[in-house]
Symmetry: D2
Subunit: 262 residues, 4 copies
């Protein structure tokens, strides 16, 4: 049952789909008509309602990605679900994992990490920009994930405070500068996941990882999403859209071998 203060996804159609917080006396305006939010209180989730014009809308419980894309305040470039999902699954983290992340930015990755580690895990976020931290904390609050996250106003290339982490996620321009700090922070066998937009960065990461001798099983991937115009009469991929986001590089941290062969 929908209560005052709840976040609701009001779905009219593909283009008219908004997340709103139910506040008494407030009205949601769309170009297909308006909706008094008072009228949502007491409705069951998944009910249909009528806009002022008689057009049907549905009141849905927002998923995490609905919240991220339709309610989170955005202050930086964000990572998309196609990349977030792949990064998290390939990292091997799950219920109870302890992970660090930099930079936090708008907090999209932070939210998905916090969601994934569950109530028994924890996410340590590093962010050098104070203003981003305020936004990220507000966004995590919206998603009900604050208790699983600690965000620090620190430059992760200067060192990682935590010990025995299961995984490290890096979405910063110079991820290789964090490699020297892995030793005391990451569990041997832990995962390092990097997301970078350019091929120059990929090449630098590969050469620094190889030189380091403690990052193995390095894999470079690009996840491409083709979204279709979901109509029965004219099915086809959308014509204009995102053609590039970045490269996902996963690797495993190991204890440096005393001698290495080539």
């Amino acid at each position: 049952m929908i209560s005052e203060g709840d976040l609701v996804l009001v779905y009219v159609d593909e283009r008219r789909s908004r997340v709103v917080r139910v506040v008494k006396g407030k009205t949601l305006h769309t170009d297909r008509g308006y909706l008094r939010l008072d009228d949502l209180i007491g409705l069951e989730w998944g009910s249909s309602v009528r806009l002022s014009t008689g057009v049907t809308a549905y009141v849905l419980r927002p998923t995490l990605t609905d919240l991220m894309f339709k309610f989170f305040k955005r202050v930086t470039q964000v990572i998309y679900p196609k990349d977030l999902a792949y990064m998290v699954l390939q990292s091997g983290i799950g219920e109870g994992s302890r992970v660090a992340e930099a930079g936090v930015g708008t907090g999209f990755l932070t939210a998905v990490l916090a969601w994934t580690v569950g109530s028994s895990g924890h996410v340590y976020g590093y962010e050098i920009n104070k203003e981003y931290i305020d936004v990220a904390l507000r966004n995590l609050e919206v998603a009900g994930l604050t208790s699983r996250v600690t965000i620090k106003n620190k430059d992760i290339t200067q060192g990682i405070d935590e010990r025995e982490l299961d995984a490290l996620f890096l979405d910063i321009p110079n991820p290789w500068d964090v490699f020297p700090h892995l030793h005391d922070s990451l569990k041997p066998s832990g995962t390092v996941v990097v997301f970078v937009p350019t091929l120059n960065q990929v090449l630098k990461i590969l050469s620094q990882a190889r030189e380091s001798k403690f990052l193995v099983d390095v894999r470079v991937s690009e996840v491409i999403l083709r979204e279709y115009q979901a109509t029965t009469e004219a099915l086809r991929p959308r014509t204009i859209g995102v053609t590039h986001t970045g490269y996902v590089i996963t690797s495993r941290y190991v204890k440096k071998a005393k001698t290495q062969e080539t």
Copy 2:
């Protein structure tokens, strides 16, 4: 510390990476030399070891996808991480969710779902082929996920036994035949995620979903993974590989509106 009976990812290089169970007296043979598994007992995770030839290998804790691709027995076509990850994130499920899935097959999706819902959630799997169930259960056992899963030898197109599910995942040839059974099983506002290989199926799902009037926010996507040859000197996508798996269709289940406009 590695103990007898543990599953270990022995990583030599990109092409020589195997998951083995540590059994006393057993030997792992590779074309770069062999490794006595006795020697792994007592080692720290992430340690380096030497194959008989002196070549270095690393002993890593396998992630879920390492287990799936390097230890699970496979009896059916499987869903790849690129698709699994996207399906799960977009479904909105997490810690504590209760979900149903059909067909189970080899159990890749089952394993990822069980991983995602955590120890407080549950996965109900439907599979019409008894032999697949045995394999899937063995695979889930390997991943330590059995307690979170119930697999039934039932045809989901005949009905869903559970009530108030958070999400339903369908990887069967005729997912539309399950739509009439959503009413009593899925929470209104719950998610239905379908994975199908052909465009004919996509078109049929779209038309049946529209006709049903209780599936909204229908999105059709294709996730494409480009894996790179991760070398510093000759970075490029792999030259031969998987060029198609299937289409991911997500939708939300709603209570049917009494009157509908077009």
Copy 3:
């Protein structure tokens, strides 16, 4: 040497690249400065010139695709080089070929066909919209290709006037309606190339081609172009762009076999 009346590609940088006709007394204005076109007369092709601000520009002989994208007037959706090039190569046409095409629209495909068949070939274009014909003829005039093309204000689904054509190109919503007219028009063994945006059209073409029994070697392809941001420091695909144009379907026209097996 550049003369009055010539078409010149003035290249400043990636974003500032324009085709202009050299007319005495005219000035080309850019946001990096202006250029008096009088100053181009007598210059060698490939020379550098200075804009009013001192910024260097280059005067290049426009290629056909430069003209198409930077000088042709556009009145319809056009086919892109990635698709045009593939369609033409796979059609097997070349010097001296006689081909028909519908619809002409803006004339991009017409121009590439006329370019390909050379001075000894000919292109017959069908277009039902008179206004498009005027634009297409003006565009072909610009490219110096008018003598190789005949454009008719006719609906090709009503019949094809020509005989013994080497190939037929269809960029209309209902290409299957032209199939009954192939018999008297196309050389047996000739090629039919279709371009359509939706998968519903692809399915209909496949079923009509199969039913017809005179279209064989049917191939369906999609050509995807990834354009890179060509910088030495930050090489990566462009971030936003065209994600779908259409499907290319090629087939060969044969004499119907008297009896067919399935």
Copy 4:
């Protein structure tokens, strides 16, 4: 009408499609039955014939790409139609153009260039491996293109003999080593088209082109082909295939500006 000595594409179905030379007394064997080639003599192109088993086949005039993929002898990695077509269209060459190319290899690009420049144009091919030249010449002979091509057993990085070329095509590992020789060989405003498999090569080409100051309008593209399984009942992209070939880099050669701004 098919005569002795003609090259014929015998098309049975998608997987059974072969180019053969009609030689009296010879037989074409397929796993669906055999065909006496004598029986083809005198048939019209596009006719249907019966294999020994009664299965229908069609006798088609091979297109250039049919010949390339189904009759050319192959000794090197080849460039695919998706890339060839795009390279040629974007180069701006056509009827009467004079172009140089290196390395010739199997001659796929050479054949498409010779086809494109027509009987009034010419292609100068450079190839350091004598054995490849023999194969390429045999292949061009098959395609009837020999008179338009001159192949030299020379290393193009040592210099280009021709003058006033319209375009230069480079499919060699170190294309940048040819840049110093452009000055006396290419018409100012001419096009340089490079095809390379790795991103390291792309980066080196970009940096050398920029340093040279005589290559402008540099564009980096990747052409991706998705081939569909062309069935009416189960339309979908093929599941396994080529996932990478190379990058196409086009640029225009200009006269070096005396002073350059950054």
